[in-house]
Symmetry: C2
Subunit: 146 residues, 2 copies
DNA sequence: CATTGATGCTTGAGATCGTCAAGCAACTCG
DNA sequence: CGAGTTGCTTGACGATCTCAAGCATCAATG
């Protein structure tokens, strides 16, 4: 133990740091979205639309009530960023699809997350690989509470 | 160099993973807060109160308008979790202080973040140290946009 | 001391977010 | 067909958030 032996952080410290970074990234996202006239929630919904997604599925992904999704999609649709399309297999279902403008907008929001990008740029390839591996190990425990 | 060489993730993949974990942790926090009748924002404000904090400072910490803090503190105060105290040095300022019940409540919320805790438990000491070090390197870039 | 300007907090208006209860349409199964 | 379930919307209501306006206090200046 000479040069490279940082003390082991307590779980509380680690938790606090993870929380701080999560918050910082969310603020970064919210600010980028805001520059395009979107709220964080609207941008988050838009970010789910790689393809057609039923309203119900969106409620699950955003962890909120289905009735809430109705309003958010209403506003996005009014601005021409998404469309509601009938589902050919089930007439109850409405699939939400991002328009070209919608895709372009969320692409820009992601690109403009400067704080996050520059933070990640501080790591070299090996560090990113290590970080990715560790975060992947955290994921299972985090998401089975959906 | 033989067994341990996972492919380097793209920056986009890493970004997505960080976002997913941040969201998961936030949901975990919100759920724990909700069990104590608190909204996420109320709990987040409560979490800042290690000591007396002026309203203005809270607005800065929560990255929102000061008028917003007024309402949040109003509701916390109505439930006996915080108090407003006059600042002896500046009569314009009101310092917000957590009551004993307030401290106890936020302590429990933190303790009940099961998904987050069990996720961190999946790492051994060395991994936690490594993760902490990497996340600390990310921090500077993330927060100088406050 | 009086004036001017800045700062801290609150209030009110208005939009969004979020839940719950209720309702309608459509699907499923017996 | 009939009963129960599911998907979506609506309406009511509270919480969050911003902006503009207002009041009290502080700080600086003449």
């Amino acid at each position: 133990m000479t040069a490279t032996a940082p003390r082991t952080p307590t779980k509380a410290q680690l938790l606090e740091l993870v929380a701080a970074l999560g918050t910082a990234q969310w603020q970064d996202f919210a600010a980028a979205a805001s520059r395009h006239g979107l709220t964080s929630v609207q941008a988050k919904l838009l970010a789910q639309l790689k393809g057609p997604v039923p309203m119900r599925k969106l409620a699950t992904l955003l962890v909120c009530d289905a009735s809430n999704v109705t309003g958010i999609v209403d506003r996005l649709e009014a601005r021409g960023l998404v469309r509601r399309e009938p589902d050919p297999a089930d007439r109850r279902v409405k699939n939400v699809v991002a328009t070209d403008e919608g895709h372009e907008t969320i692409r820009r929001v992601r690109a403009e997350m400067q704080a996050t990008h520059s933070a990640l740029d501080a790591l070299d390839e090996e560090e990113r690989t290590t970080l990715y591996g560790l975060l992947e190990r955290l994921r299972p425990g985090m998401e089975h509470r959906g």
